[in-house]
């Protein structure tokens, strides 16, 4: 055996990730226990203020709204993703159809959000048409509420949800479905008892790919949300840049990280042996390699 070059090759990686990811994450954790300084920044004095400030109804409400919006959006996204992925997987031209899913996913994220502002905004496409047709006199405010946030989250993450479902449905042996039907199962029974258990891995992955980024939403509620849709990401940003209470911004970040980790752990529990395959999926997914 040759000399062990592993540490040499991995040294830059280890250093970079430690300095620019691990250290900053630890700093946030430490900051959440410090005292706030007047113009942003902190005083190096231990304090639980950052966490005490969280024990009020308005903060708990934000946590609730964040989880609620994420759960509803994930549920609806998966509801659309399953039949769409199923249709693509069973189609003769699956590669071309898959490309149709990947194109919106390549489109710049902000542009995708902006498209909905152009359509549903107060001066948007829909309002203009309705006014022209005489249906309404003045605009209807479609945006700046929870529904708009949920809609745009679904729009943004639906491609991420379709791809893992597609790869697991594609591997599924469809003759099993026919067998179930021949043996007298109804369509619903065949779906819930035969197809669903066999695509569990893909389903869990697509839930994860929607739920985790939805929890950390910041841009979408900022651009199309209103008072009823402030999410954790928005109040972190507010405390950091407007109020300049850095210990509080840090403690909220810790809360968001903990919620996210709980989500990931629940998912891993559902999907014990799948960690490796998920890692690969994340990568292939994002690279859109599927369509080659």
């Amino acid at each position: 055996m040759k000399k062990n070059y592993g540490p040499v090759y991995s040294l830059p990686l280890g250093l970079w990730i430690t300095i620019f990811f691990i250290v900053p994450t630890c700093i946030i954790f430490i900051y959440s226990f410090l005292t706030k300084a007047t113009y942003g920044g902190v005083q190096w004095q231990f304090s639980l203020e950052g966490y005490k400030a969280l024990a009020n109804t308005s903060f708990i409400n934000v946590v609730w709204i964040t989880v609620y919006i994420s759960v509803i959006s994930t549920f609806l996204t998966v509801l659309f993703a399953i039949p769409t992925a199923y249709y693509i997987a069973r189609n003769k031209h699956k590669n071309q159809l898959l490309l149709l899913v990947i194109i919106p996913f390549w489109t710049n994220f902000l542009i995708r959000v902006y498209a909905w502002i152009a359509i549903l905004g107060n001066n948007g496409f829909v309002n203009n048409i309705l006014v022209k047709l005489g249906v309404i006199d003045t605009y209807i405010q479609f945006l700046y509420n929870q529904y708009a946030v949920i809609l745009v989250i679904i729009y943004t993450y639906l491609p991420y949800a379709i791809l893992p479902l597609y790869s697991s449905i594609e591997k599924f042996d469809f003759s099993l479905l026919e067998a179930a039907r021949d043996l007298g199962a109804t369509k619903a029974q065949a779906f819930f008892k035969v197809l669903l258990p066999n695509i569990k891995g893909g389903l869990a992955t697509s839930i994860l790919f929607t739920f985790i980024p939805a929890l950390g939403s910041y841009v979408i509620p900022m651009l199309v949300g209103g008072k009823d849709s402030m999410m954790l990401g928005n109040i972190i940003s507010r405390e950091l840049t407007t109020t300049r209470n850095w210990p509080l911004a840090s403690s909220i970040s810790v809360v968001l990280t903990v919620i996210t980790m709980i989500g990931v752990l629940l998912f891993l529990k559902l999907n014990k042996n799948n960690l490796e395959s998920i890692k690969k999926l994340v990568v292939r997914e994002k690279a859109g390699e599927e369509s080659i």
Partner: protein, 258 residues
Amino acid sequence: MKEKHRFSFTMFILTMIFFYLPIAVLIIFSFNEGKTMAWSGFSLKWYQKLFFESEELWKAVFNSVIIAIFSSLVSTAIGTLGAIGMYWYRFRSKKYIQVASYLPLIMPEIIMGVSLLIFFVMFKIPLSLLTIFIAHTTVSIPYVLFIVMARLEEFDYSIIEAAYDLGAKEIDTLFKVILPISMPGIISGFLMAVTLSLDDFVITFFVSGPGSSTLPLYINSMIRFGVSPIINAVSVVLIASTILLAVSTRRFYKYMFS
């Protein structure tokens, strides 16, 4: 057979309408004469404004491209070496490096943005293109790492042992054997990093300073001013160029590696 898929077919069509309706509206209205989302006649004036009267925007595009190139080169180098080191060797800190480089994938973007901002302020590093470069490199490294690892899994170690047995030094083995066989993975990783960097808004938003605007930051500031037909034109150009880029890299990739 057709009969059976009626439900999934309907859902598929609905999904496609949902995906493409907004994009279609943007494309159509980029050719609108008027300033609003009410159609008032065909015109190319927004494209003319975009290409000839939007200096700030092109400066932002230039920044985006520079950052994308440099951060992708660095993250590809670091990620590739890391993948090689961790795939074939065992060493003490390996488990730590593995877990630490897996975490950024699941960490909410906003937390990475906030923590890097606090880090830069704490160490008095002025917010600039440099800090955006550091942030983008950090985000891309895990993706490059896993893409290259996936490639390494496909060929066996005996090729490398053969190189050693034939007397190749470590450096020769790296440049003449390991890197060439991992090249498809390295290129995918690099392209991935470029895409991530060009698209990133959230983290960039936190770590950018005055005068270091990128394209997504510029688009954001335009959106905040309300609907503008120039954004429609930018969107069309961006969508067209991503599709073109994707198709041509795919062609190139197929040509090179198969």
